[in-house]
């Protein structure tokens, strides 16, 4: 009995004592929500942190702190001297990289973010056209908390496939995978006090090389993988003078990739994309209720999408980029030795890639 009592007493003493050592009081913590990185001409980093304010006595919604430092952690230490709160990164949600920084290469900085166990691997990564710090520091009248605004914008747009969902984990995975290159969404600050997504940044290893325009972002999504949900507006090549505009939504797309082998190694790679969706807006001459005319429209949409996809692939080939992961399929279809001997980037530039789209209009709304 006594022994039992003593053991319990010990436990009761020790467990609460361990709580005294390492205190984290919610009110005195500054949770970094968003962080932005820019590179200065002298090679140093300009880093800004956005910290939501929980203190009921202030009117400010958030605290923005900036510092110039050689590394991310050094900047955290510098800014913590400017605030009464203890700056922690456990609730970090977004990392913004300025364009110049992305062009310079991200690897070392991603390494820091990935190494720190307090930072979740689910932090979203984006590239900012122009200066990332400026975008973060600005207050947007209609959106009281800039950090939250960015987060919700990215989350929602990724659902509709207009930008890819890119977290630290996904970025790092594509970076390490030999058969694919990373991508990231692009954000842009508008002069009229709002932020917009502005296409997709294509990386070569960890360096930002070129971008895909926002109106073509969905074509990229078709090539990158299968998905449900999304919409695209297409201006079809004129059929006898009149403009034809089609808005294709509730998309369901599935993609098949084939590597065709010839007598001299790989002959070509084919992408076959099946898209089903509803037409909710149509400006043109075809009558959608007529089967034949609708099928013709499907053909025209397929042709337009194929054209766009081919243009996109040649852009990537020209820069020796493989952001849609063709390399993974090529690697899996050739022997290991052959893959290792291959200089994939050079090979890609020469490799013919053919796209074909099969479009199906599932329905065309309430109007015949």
């Amino acid at each position: 009995m006594l022994k039992k009592f003593i053991s319990w007493l010990l436990l009761v003493c020790i467990i609460p004592l361990s709580g005294c050592g390492d205190q984290r009081i919610l009110e005195s913590l500054g949770f970094i929500q968003t962080v932005s990185y820019d590179i200065l001409p002298d090679g140093k980093l300009s880093i800004s942190f956005s910290i939501p304010q929980a203190d009921p006595e202030t009117t400010a919604n958030r605290e923005v702190l900036s510092a110039v430092a050689a590394s991310s952690k050094e900047a955290t230490m510098k800014v913590s001297r400017e605030t009464g709160m203890m700056v922690v990164s456990g609730q970090l949600r977004n990392v913004l990289f300025g364009q110049s920084m992305a062009e310079h290469g991200l690897h070392g900085h991603l390494d820091t973010l990935f190494r720190d166990p307090s930072i979740s691997s689910q932090v979203k990564v984006s590239v900012v056209e122009g200066n990332a710090g400026e975008l973060l520091i600005e207050d947007y009248k209609q959106h009281p908390r800039t950090g939250r605004y960015i987060d919700m914008l990215l989350e929602k747009e990724a659902l509709g496939q207009t930008i890819p969902k890119v977290t630290l984990f996904i970025f790092a995975r594509d970076y390490f995978d030999e058969g694919t290159d990373p991508v990231a969404p692009i954000l842009k600050k508008h002069a009229d006090n709002y932020i917009t997504t502005n296409g997709i940044a294509l990386f070569k290893d960890d360096r930002y090389v070129t971008k895909i325009e926002p109106q073509n972002a969905l074509v990229f999504a078709f090539l990158k993988g299968s998905f449900r949900e999304g919409q695209i507006s297409l201006e079809l090549a004129d059929t006898g003078g009149d403009k034809e505009i089609v808005m294709f939504s509730s998309l369901i797309s599935s993609r098949k990739v084939k590597v065709v082998h010839g007598t001299e190694g790989i002959e070509k790679v084919t992408y076959h994309v099946k898209v089903t969706g509803s037409v909710l807006e149509y400006i043109g001459d075809a009558r959608l209720s007529n089967d034949r005319e609708r099928h013709e429209l499907e053909q025209r949409i397929s042709k337009e999408l194929t054209k766009k996809a081919n243009a996109m692939i040649s852009l990537m080939k020209q820069h020796q980029l493989d952001n849609i992961g063709i390399g993974k399929y090529v690697r899996n279809s050739v022997g290991y030795k052959q893959w290792k001997q291959m200089n994939w980037r050079e090979e890609l530039e020469k490799l013919p890639v053919e796209c074909s789209f099969e479009v199906k209009i599932k329905d065309y709304g309430k109007f015949r």
Binding site: G21, D22, D177
Partner: protein
Amino acid sequence: MNEKLSQFHTAILIYMIQTGVYVFSFTQIEAKYFGTNGWLVMIPVSILVSLNIYEMYWVYRLGNGQSIFDILEKSIPKFILAPFYMILSTIWALIGCLVAKQYVLIFQMFAFPTTNPMVFKIAIDILAFILLTKGLYNISKASTIFFWCTIWLSFLLLYFVGDFRTERLTPYIFKESYNMTEGFFQIYLAYMGYELCLLLFPYTDKKTRLFRAVIHGHLLRSVSYIILGLVSFGVVGYDMLKVMMFPSLDLLAYIKLPFMERIENLFYGFFLFTTLITLVLYFWAAGESTRRIFPKIKLNVQYFVIILAALLISYIPTVLDTIREWILILGYFQIGFSYIMPLILILLLLWQRRKKAV
């Protein structure tokens, strides 16, 4: 202790001893040493372990379920055995305490990084001591409860169905491997713990069907390792697995609830249960060995001394990598033990039988 272990409890107990902190990092070892599709290596290793269990089964059968210490003492004088017992219990006690310390240090990467790790270590040791004083039968019952507390985590793997890509697995097997022999041993360590079934003989009867239980526990562990490996290679890809420290923890971080983020830190706490059983059983094994040398000292006092001594030794390594190295070395000893010991026992049993016949 009159009550004998039940078959189900024993199977769970074996599974729980095998499950430890290794779960967090074994996929990295698979990727590092075996390269592409490294998860496959779990299958041959598991078969090898099964063969080893079969070897132990013969000890059980030939000895009619006698305790291995009884078998040894019948043929070998005690003054030779005493130091041997001492070495065994030292190894077992050290494994137990280092596993706990490793858990604490990993835990501290996520929470309370500046608290003295020994505070947590002592708290865990006290828990272990309380559990030990209850005897093996109750430990096996507790481990069954802990099993139900943790097994549901495996269903979280369903979360990754959408992100699993067969392309990422690649068609190559063990390309980009490096030093496969060393890797093989390291992977083997992931299964260690089953060898303690050698000590369970006196606590079982015919109804326990000890070896059927051991195999079932081991199979459950193997299947769970293989599935986790497959998912890791298909979701993360071997290129990245190589550079990750604790891939399984990062996989857990993938899971995000709409109302709560970063729940992986909560999940991590559940692994205390499996770690606790591992260390309790190793301490228990150490006690089984020392009670043969000091039959007159009360068992609980022996446990106390073992835990205290192990605790003092565990002050020495403070760096995660050092602990890993220590565990590796001890683990190699343990692999040696698990193959050589049954062999010696079988030979002794055959010899004893022959002597009887003459």
